[in-house]
Amino acid sequence: MKAFIGKRAISSVISLVGLIIMVFFLSRLTGDPTALYLPLDASIESRELFRELHGLNDSIWLQFWNYVQDIARLDFGDSIRRSRPALEVVLEAFPWTLLLAFITMILVTFFAVLIGSLAAFRAGGVFDRFTSTFSLIGSSAPDFWVAIVAIVIFAVQLRWLPTSGTGTIWHWILPITVLFIRPFGLILQVVRGSMISVLSSAYIKTARAKGVKTRPIIFVHALRNAMLPVITVIGDQAAAMLNGAVVVETIFGFPGIGKLMIDSILQRDFTVILAAIMVTALAIFIMNLLIDLAYTLLDPRIRY
């Protein structure tokens, strides 16, 4: 297991280095941020001063070399826009997204597994068709659209929930609900498919021959086996969410990393972009490790 983690860490570091090189050079291609930071009528001199101050006049190779040296010292540089350490900016935003993604994925997993299992048990039945259709509709509706409609209904018309923002537990409900829909539809389908094939396997027949009741057959005997393909998808979805629940964070005014990243991209705040990517990539790496760990916990046949 240790050797496995080591091997995974090495391959992740390779990916991360590749990622940094790509992001560094590609983001430099998106243009000079000077114009974005100074008023439109700023003079040529003050533009020059700005470039000098942020090292934008150096050759791109020198910039890269400086950056690599800084990174080696774990110094991600200062945000151009905020004049504060980029890492600090990122670490302020990241916990929000982490928590948002975590809660959402817990709920998604729970409901998708529950409903998907029940749908699979009576595959082709009314409940199955109903959930399939609705999950498909839900997951093909644009999320910003759903978000606004939800606000109009639940916050403005019914006044049950606050429109947006942070502060209380009520503020989390709408964003989580909107984020919930798409991964739920997807994971539901995977659970259903996986469950259908597991329920037809031989050991389920054994359990029935033993006299095991229906509920434990589904949730004890079948589910653990059916979870293997499911957790892969859960991992992918959680990773996608960590990389940015941009739309939801934007609409609900959530100070998460997705919004930070899109803002930084639009503002060409390179240091923040790079720091954010490093942090999320690290988080995704850890999450993938956890997924692998979950595999070994679920299935004793898998050993690393």
Binding site: S11, T30, A141, M261
Partner: protein, 301 residues
């Protein structure tokens, strides 16, 4: 010695199997209508779709008062929603179809290579996929769309690149499984080349799974494109896509819901049609399952 008969023509087979699955048939009919409007819509409706009429703006839908063209209402500058949806179907379908197709082709090709070559090559390809997966797709979109132009081609490029890893990983996983199957070994024993094994034996087993993913990806790509428009970096007017229409209609949700509703509905219906079609296709492509569709044929005969 009795001669072996020629098999039935492919198109006839497809037609009969489609008739057996009414859900899939509905999906196909919808998609055909869509394809026709994508091809001919812009020719006939370009004007109605782009000509503003500020005096007839935000006309409500489901009324024939403003002529059949405006049956679905008009948008914020008085253009027919119906015409716009039909005209936009060309760009939308073009973007999603090409993106998905390109992603599928590249991902599948790389996945086959990764699954059937040396661990070294395989690792290299997988690391590349990792990079793409942890590369925020928005950043990629911004880079490509700024560096180059925010054109349809570049949008396709972005959407395709971000979807490649999905196909790559699926294909590779399937290849690893299929290559151990007995019939592949049987082909090796007969002296089949790697190329033949990959193309004739492994690929046909992988394709149905990929097609299922692809149909779902269609929706994903349409929505991603919409989100890019929402964030202001997607397709730019005067080009129109459903995604852009939804994004543009969003501020009017309260006063004129139809601006965002119809294009959203178009996306949902297309997704569902494709989904039904993919379920049908999975069955039709699998000789073991195909009888389910051929039975219907017998009762019809």
């Amino acid at each position: 010695m009795p001669e072996i008969a020629e098999p039935r023509p492919l198109l006839v087979q497809i037609y009969r199997m489609l008739m057996a699955d009414k859900f899939a048939l509905c999906g196909v009919i919808f998609l055909i209508i869509l394809a026709v409007s994508a091809i001919f819509g812009p020719i006939f409706l370009e004007d109605a779709a782009t000509r503003p009429n500020l005096r007839g703006r935000n006309a409500p839908p489901l009324s024939m008062e403003n002529g059949w063209v405006n049956f679905l209402g008009t948008d914020s500058v008085g253009r027919s929603m119906l015409a716009r949806i039909l005209v936009a179907s060309r760009n939308t379908l073009q973007i999603s179809f090409i993106s998905v197709f390109v992603a599928l082709s590249i991902g599948c090709a790389l996945g086959l290579i990764a699954g059937y070559s040396t661990p070294r090559t395989s690792n290299l390809i997988l690391r590349g996929a990792d990079i793409i997966m942890s590369f925020p797709s928005l950043l990629l979109a911004v880079i490509v769309l700024y560096m180059l132009e925010p054109s349809i081609f570049n949008l396709v490029l972005v959407l395709a690149i971000t979807r490649v890893p999905v196909y790559l990983r699926t294909t590779r996983a399937e290849v690893l499984e299929v290559r151990e199957r007995m019939f592949v070994q049987a082909a090796v024993v007969m002296g089949a080349s790697k190329r033949r094994i990959i193309l004739r034996h492994i690929l046909p087993m992988v394709i149905p799974t990929l097609i299922t993913i692809a149909t779902l990806d269609f929706a994903f790509v349409m929505l991603a494109e919409s989100s890019l428009s929402f964030l202001g970096i997607g397709i730019q007017p005067p080009d129109i896509t459903w995604g852009l229409m939804v994004a543009q209609g969003r501020p009017y949700l309260v006063q004129a819901w139809w601006l965002a509703f119809w294009p959203g509905l178009a996306i949902i219906l297309t997704t569902m049609s494709l989904n039904l079609l993919s379920i049908w296709m999975r069955t039709a492509l699998d000789p073991v399952q195909r009888w389910r569709l051929e039975i219907g044929r017998k009762t019809n005969d």
